[in-house]
């Protein structure tokens, strides 16, 4: 039986395709990564079908590229060596909402839009990255370590126990979901760790190279009863970052971030391009956004003590930081911004990063906050050398866990229909990434062209990764050509 016939039988004809127009859809995305065609696309309905497909692929050494989201920005699901695209979008069930333990168990195809909507009905939310696309898979984004805008929780990542299909085709449950008979069990899946090894760690940041995650448990939080959104116009970003070093370890606020005028304008503008252009010129160079929330009990009192603390710090230590409930000149902004921070970007509106020119190349990494301005300076020095104006660079600073580290993200906007523009941005992106890497920027998610740059610098890590990969994927069928595999 050939592959086409076998795969069609496994998932049913309606969930299999090798039609060129379908394959073409999976061969490219919003990134600058070169296109690559799969041979087949299959859409399994459950873990058992995934298991059969992966087993077949492993026996026949056919590449498998898992994909869960309906929209992609980093080239991670573009097949580099053909094979099967395993589209998990049909596996989109919210399997459990466990109110006692503040836990949700979801399949890989559940999107941000779907999850936030369903959780809201029950009074819960999941801490979110900044404006994820509505049709992105929540599970994929957290496996890929998106950084939440909420900085107050010590435990950071919401990922708990999950189920995978190994590249050799076995189904395996990790952490406390590993008990026999789960979920009909005393154990609920609250611990991602073990059994034996911390297997789940190998799946984080793996871009589908280590196996297929079919479902996972995630922590959810109660929706605050009331919120106050504070803004501060910022000219001196170093001063603002010092302020964050002072206040965030004291566990105040929920969402907290810094956006430059380009990114904030792209998020806020509704009338394009006029409103965007106006915002670009009127917004301050940077805006600090801090949400202070009252939780389920005594919400006013919680907000009151946080405001009092902030007031004292501002008055006594940071008199130049003008934190207020409105950004001067932008009345009503607090009402507009909070829903944006607590919801994904709607699917029926062009993605905020793509609205300006049609596409955007993201450059992001982890660093110490104290070094952020130095990296910003480097980018602003280098971009004009490629004909890219500094005034068009979007910049986003996201403190992590009490500002002990930060996620720094630059947005380079380009016209996807203009090949010259695309190539210019691609070269600039690669060169700037190399320069930042050399200065200590830490790229935890090395997508596409970044991977060889990063792993050349982290040679022993790459060598050990290959040894681990060989144990679990001896035929290197999972998304080959990605990372260092």
């Amino acid at each position: 039986m050939d592959a086409k016939e076998k795969l069609g039988k496994l998932v049913g004809a309606e969930n299999f395709s090798d039609a060129p127009e379908v394959l073409l859809e999976y061969s490219q995305d919003f990134s600058l990564s070169p296109p690559g065609m799969p041979n087949y696309v299959v859409k399994p309905k459950d873990a058992q079908e995934v298991q059969k497909i992966v087993s077949f692929a492993n026996e026949n050494k056919i590449p498998v590229v898992p994909t869960s989201s309906k929209v992609h920005f980093y080239g991670a699901t573009i097949p580099r060596q053909g094979g099967i695209v395993l589209d998990l979008s049909r596996m989109n069930k919210i399997l459990e909402v466990d109110a006692d333990n503040r836990r949700v168990r979801i399949e890989a195809g559940v999107t941000w839009e779907q999850l936030t909507r369903e959780l809201r009905k029950k009074g819960f939310r999941i801490i979110m990255p900044l404006l994820p696309h509505a049709e992105r898979s929540v599970l994929t984004d957290y496996l890929e370590r998106v950084v939440p805008t909420n900085t107050v929780y010590d435990y950071g990542e919401p990922l708990q126990a999950m189920e995978v299909v190994w590249p050799t085709g076995e189904i395996f449950r990790m952490g406390s979901a590993s008990v026999d008979g789960y979920p009909d069990s005393l154990s609920k899946g609250g611990n991602p760790s073990g059994p034996g090894l911390d297997f789940y760690r190998f799946f984080q940041g793996a871009q589908g190279t280590m196996g297929v995650v079919t479902w996972a448990n995630l922590k959810v939080e109660s929706i605050p009863v009331m919120d106050k959104v504070f803004f501060a116009p910022v000219d001196d970003v170093e001063y603002a970052i010092e302020f964050l070093y002072r206040i965030l370890p004291r566990r105040v606020g929920q969402e907290c971030l810094l956006l430059n005028n380009v990114d904030l304008a792209a998020i806020l503008a509704e009338q394009w391009p006029d409103e965007f252009e106006r915002l670009l010129t009127t917004l301050p160079p940077w805006t600090l956004i801090l949400v202070v929330s009252g939780l389920l009990r005594r919400p006013e009192e919680k907000i009151a003590y946080e405001e009092k603390f902030l007031g004292e710090v501002l008055k006594n230590e940071f008199p130049e930081m003008h934190l207020a409930e409105n950004l001067p000149g932008f009345p009503g902004l607090h009402k507009k911004l909070l829903p944006l921070l607590r919801n994904p970007w709607p699917a029926d509106v062009p993605y905020w990063k793509n609205r300006y020119t049609g596409a955007c190349q993201n450059l992001f990494f982890i660093t110490r906050p104290v070094l952020a301005s130095q990296f910003m300076y480097m980018v602003e020095e280098m971009a004009p050398q490629y004909g890219y104006p500094v005034s068009d660079i979007g910049t986003y600073f996201q403190p992590i866990e009490h500002n002990r580290a930060c996620h720094l993200e630059f947005h380079f906007f380009y016209d996807p229909t203009n090949d010259v523009d695309k190539e210019r941005v691609r070269i600039m992106y690669r060169d700037i990434a190399q320069a930042l890497l050399d200065e200590g920027a830490f790229f935890t998610q090395p997508y596409g062209e970044l991977a060889p740059l990063v792993y050349e610098k982290a040679a022993s890590y790459a060598m050990t990764l290959r040894r681990v990969k060989k144990v679990f994927d001896p035929n290197n069928i999972m998304n080959p050509g990605t990372l260092c595999f």
Binding site: G190, N191, P195, L197, R201, G205, E301, A451, S460, T464
Partner: protein, 533 residues
């Protein structure tokens, strides 16, 4: 049995004559026990031996060279820092080289970015003191403040303070690991630069090799450096008071305060924990076994038994306490807010605050585990599991039921269902069940109880900390994952094909089952014929 003269000479050239010895008197000092964790049990008697040689490196490079010599000369080796974890951190085969890492005791704190870089010989006590001077704190595990920070974080690493951050894995940042073949892998930001501030990646996270929930007992390499998170605390000084052994930390009551509540029943106890988690308040929320109160009050073994002898099943069954630590992380006003919310919750569940000492004797200071074997001489935790509060609040009762069958030799505790508490603001729950025995008695029943708990957890579909090398791998392996043991063993084979790194871990308990005749009745699972003997 000592190692060959030829190998000894090579090893001596690495560290110098002062830091290597095969003198039997020196090696005897590294014998497991007497007393303490898992002491005197069959596993210790059957599986542990004194090392053939002891070496004390002072750098990662020296560790790498030593390990490569071990691979070259086929010398089994065991990494060792403080040895608290009883028999399982001691050599299991004759002629082993014990690599004592206590000289590598650096502690370097970055207080702006809330982490400390530590060596494997660094212990918690100075780290906690230095962290607190800088407005931070670390979570000292039940092993005590005398335990190695790294060894604790790759095997255990929690306490009631884990209400804020449960899984110790989340506190591990950039790490340096000497693999069993001597190759060095640097994880997180250390992979690309000499800065350990970040723990993940690049790409897939190799910290997955470090521990696997409750550790691998050093059978997959030697951690030589680790950056560990410090959590922001509050600015007031906690003043040490008293004279050893009656020491404590006087708490600045406007910023740090323990309150004990008596609640009417278990339902109230559990509800209080869930509600405290949902309200996102407090620094610790715990319920400990009743006999800990006797331990805390007693100054000697006899006094413990005087106090404990007054208890019975009825008093145990009517004892419902919730112990809460409030911390003013933000300000005094924040702690007042937490206290008001806490009192609301306690009013709802019928809890009453009881007078509580304005001091800390155990969890912030040092997790005073030394007193835990005072009354019997030996103890072991047969589970210390992180799951959800749904599991944690029921798990101990299953242990208590099973324990009757093995009492004695286990200490009578009148059916006390153990310890449970909130982790990660109630997203997780923790349960621990400790057993005590007199090592001068016949302890075979303790060995049997220990393995019987694994069977019980399999049957009850409960997660347990005692997986991997802590129980027979071929008993638990097929039932969790399933078949996690096959993947663990494949990883072991990849990185340690000679099985020189702490053999026969992770199969040591399987080997024990084969060697100990009194365990035969318990064994009803299959093991391969080529199990290491």
């Amino acid at each position: 049995m000592s190692i060959s003269k030829e190998a000894y000479t090579v090893l001596e050239s690495i560290v110098g004559a002062e830091y290597i010895s095969d003198d039997p008197a020196v090696c005897e000092g590294y014998r497991s026990g007497p007393g303490g964790y898992e002491s005197g049990l069959g596993y210790e008697r059957v599986m542990t031996v004194i090392p053939g040689c002891v070496i004390m490196p002072n750098s990662t490079e020296e560790v790498q060279r030593i390990v490569k010599v071990c691979c070259r000369y086929n010398i089994p080796y065991v990494p060792y820092s403080t040895g608290f974890y009883g028999p399982r951190s001691h050599p299991h085969v004759d002629g082993a080289l014990l690599i004592d890492l206590k000289r590598m005791d650096e502690i370097d704190i970055d207080d702006k970015h809330w982490f400390a870089v530590v060596g494997p010989g660094a212990i918690y006590s100075p780290l906690q003191e230095e962290a607190m001077k800088r407005g931070g704190y670390v979570v000292i595990g039940g092993g005590g403040a005398q335990a190695s920070v790294i060894a604790n974080l790759i095997g255990d690493g929690w306490s009631p303070l884990s209400h804020r951050i449960g899984l110790p894995h989340r506190r591990i940042l950039g790490t340096e690991l000497v693999l069993p073949d001597g190759e060095l892998v640097r994880m997180g930001s250390l992979a690309q630069q000499d800065d350990p501030f970040w723990g993940e990646g690049p790409g897939p996270d190799l910290r997955g090799l470090l521990r696997g929930y409750t550790g691998l007992r050093g059978c997959l390499g030697i951690v030589t450096k680790m950056a560990v998170k410090i959590l922001p605390f509050q600015p007031e000084r906690l003043e040490p008071t008293g004279i050893s052994p009656h020491t404590s930390l006087a708490l600045p009551e406007k910023r740090v305060k323990w309150i004990n509540f008596v609640v009417p029943n278990k339902e109230a106890q559990v509800k209080a924990m869930f509600e405290i988690g949902k309200a996102e308040i407090a620094g610790a929320v715990t319920k400990v076994p009743l006999f800990w109160r006797a331990i805390a009050k007693a100054e000697c073994k006899e006094e413990f038994w005087d106090l404990w002898g007054k208890e019975n099943s009825d008093s145990i069954n009517k004892f419902f306490i919730v112990r809460v630590l409030l911390i003013g992380f933000t300000s005094e006003e924040q702690m007042q807010y937490d206290e008001r919310v806490l009192m609301d919750i306690m009013t709802e569940v019928g809890g009453e605050a009881r007078p509580t000492k304005p001091s800390d004797e155990s969890w912030i200071k040092n997790a005073d585990s030394a007193g835990m074997w005072m009354m019997c001489g030996s103890y072991v935790s047969v589970d210390y599991v992180i799951e959800t509060l749904s599991q944690a609040t029921q798990h101990g009762e299953t242990y208590a039921d099973l324990k009757w069958k093995y009492t004695p030799p286990l200490m009578p505790d009148y059916g006390d269902p153990g310890w449970f508490q909130s982790f990660e603001l109630g997203h997780q729950g923790y349960s621990e069940f400790l057993v005590y025995w007199d090592q001068d008695q016949d302890t075979n029943g303790v060995d049997l109880f220990y393995v019987d708990t694994a069977k019980m957890n399999i049957k009850n579909r409960a997660y347990t900390s005692l997986l991997g090398p802590h129980q027979p791998l071929y008993l638990t392996g097929p039932k969790y994952g399933p078949n996690y043991h096959t993947w663990l063993l494949r990883v072991k084979e990849e990185f340690d094909p000679q099985w020189v790194c702490h053999p026969p871990v992770p199969l040591a308990h399987d080997v024990f089952m084969e060697r100990a005749p009194w365990m035969k009745s318990m064994k009803d699972w299959e093991v391969p014929k080529d199990l290491p003997k």
